[in-house]
Symmetry: C2
Subunit: 287 residues, 2 copies
């Protein structure tokens, strides 16, 4: 496994691999890898010859009041995990390499970022689409993989990929959950054991929603009320930022559950902002 730090080296290696007809995949990460990331790397390995994993804690997608400074990292552990999962190249540029002093170019997706996370975290997606676009240009992958936990991010980036004419196949892989149901997230590392149980409130709420839909309920207002009660019961101090019912592809809000409705929510659990989501009527084939 090769570790590359500079853009120039990465471009040179990618060019050589392309000439050799290798198919490349890219798994962009911010490091501190968990099973969710590793599932993406393993899937990438099945789909392409060479798996590139990028590790870059992207400052432009954090607002000033967010957790950029305390975001956890463990490069040694990450490299070991990536190697074991089948990664071939790890791209680990530093912030100056990606954002030199006169940096001033941004990529934005306009409509899909107006709601949910885009509304709660102004500027967040501008940072995400800019860094991923730059990673695309440097790594020139044939396939890129993102996790369903950050589902809006995946939809936004898929739109960007299509709109800007990148010849890249887009894979959205299922959320990996801990045994109890908590969606794997780097931010789970902020919790004590006790808080971690309360963090299950998101999953319990989503399960409640899915069970209500199974039982024939369709009105989102009623389901939402029940979800709030479940969250409060599991984590009394929880601060719900949003619970949303939207069309999977367009992100437009729905009042009554339909086939492609996804429920997503953002909740602060002991000051840690968590998100999660679930398709409510079907196991949608995600590809």
């Amino acid at each position: 496994m090769k570790r590359i730090r500079s853009i120039k080296s990465m471009q040179r290696v990618v060019r050589e691999l392309t000439i050799k007809k290798k198919r490349l995949s890219l798994v962009p990460t911010m490091g501190f890898l968990h099973e969710g990331h590793l599932s993406l790397i393993k899937r990438a390995k099945k789909n392409t010859d060479i798996v590139i994993v990028s590790i870059f804690v992207n400052p432009t997608q954090f607002a000033p009041n967010e957790d950029l400074k305390k975001y956890p990292h463990n490069m040694k552990g990450d490299l070991r995990k990536i190697k074991k999962a089948g990664g071939d190249i790890v791209f680990t540029p530093d912030a100056k390499e990606i954002y030199p002093e006169d940096f001033q170019t941004y990529v934005t997706v306009e409509d899909l970022t107006k709601t949910l996370e885009g509304k709660s975290r102004p500027g967040h997606f501008k940072g995400v689409t800019t860094i991923v676009s730059k990673l695309f240009n440097i790594c020139h992958p044939d396939v890129v993989l993102f996790g369903m936990k950050d589902y809006q991010q995946a939809i936004v980036l898929k739109q960007m990929t299509k709109d800007l004419g990148y010849p890249i196949k887009f894979i959205i892989a299922p959320t990996v959950r801990e045994r109890g149901g908590l969606a794997m997230s780097t931010r789970n590392s902020y919790f004590t054991d006790e808080q971690r149980k309360e963090a299950l409130s998101l999953f319990y709420a989503l399960e409640t929603a899915r069970n209500m839909v199974k039982a024939g309920k369709r009105k989102t207002a009623i389901i939402e009320r029940e979800m709030k009660a479940v969250i409060k019961a599991t984590c009394p101090s929880a601060k719900i930022e949003y619970i949303a019912f939207t069309d999977f592809n367009t992100l437009s809000s729905v009042k009554s559950i339909r086939k492609d409705t996804i429920c997503s929510l953002a909740v602060r659990v002991h000051k840690v902002r968590l998100i999660d989501n679930m398709m409510l009527m079907q196991h949608k084939k995600l590809k």
Copy 2:
């Protein structure tokens, strides 16, 4: 010479060429080609194996009040000229191919677009950087060429190329002028013979500026006053949008001429908006 209309075909051809180790250059145009464009194609041919010329009148870089609808075109003539100049592939997508109905992703360069053309034509550069970025992603060139006449456009795109990590060499080629000095421009075709003489006012003003600098003058305010007089004398109905003295690389305004000062101006001559520019102290080596 091959003409390609679809993004998919273009991507396939580019991939095949890259695997064959061919070096590709791209000359983005809006068609109705003149000697300025052809000089870019010829230079591209000297630098790379395969020259791709794109012809696309990009709607997103025109404001509603601008000349998108009457912008001239002559595909047959263009194809003949490109072939003669050494072009290998002509990429001619239509507007729906580039901007499908749900298109919503834009690339913007922030600081360098705040002045000159960016100030006069709000939104213009957002359209330019978006289309060129898309062309980069589709055509994946090793070298791209732009003309010095649209000098701020070249500087902005060069910044975008660097910021977003495109492995593309950037060439800015000198402005080609008609015998009298009028900078070649598609928009010159709007003029009658009489008006064309008045359009020389921009070149005369720039020549005046350069001569004043040769004679030791440095204060831009004094030079600007003289330039205005020259424009009014050549074209009494001219409407000057701006005359600017800026640093070539940073576009920051200067009050006294220095080595890297470029003078650029935008003038409406019989309702046709023309731009031109000149380095005032040296023939800057443009590469």
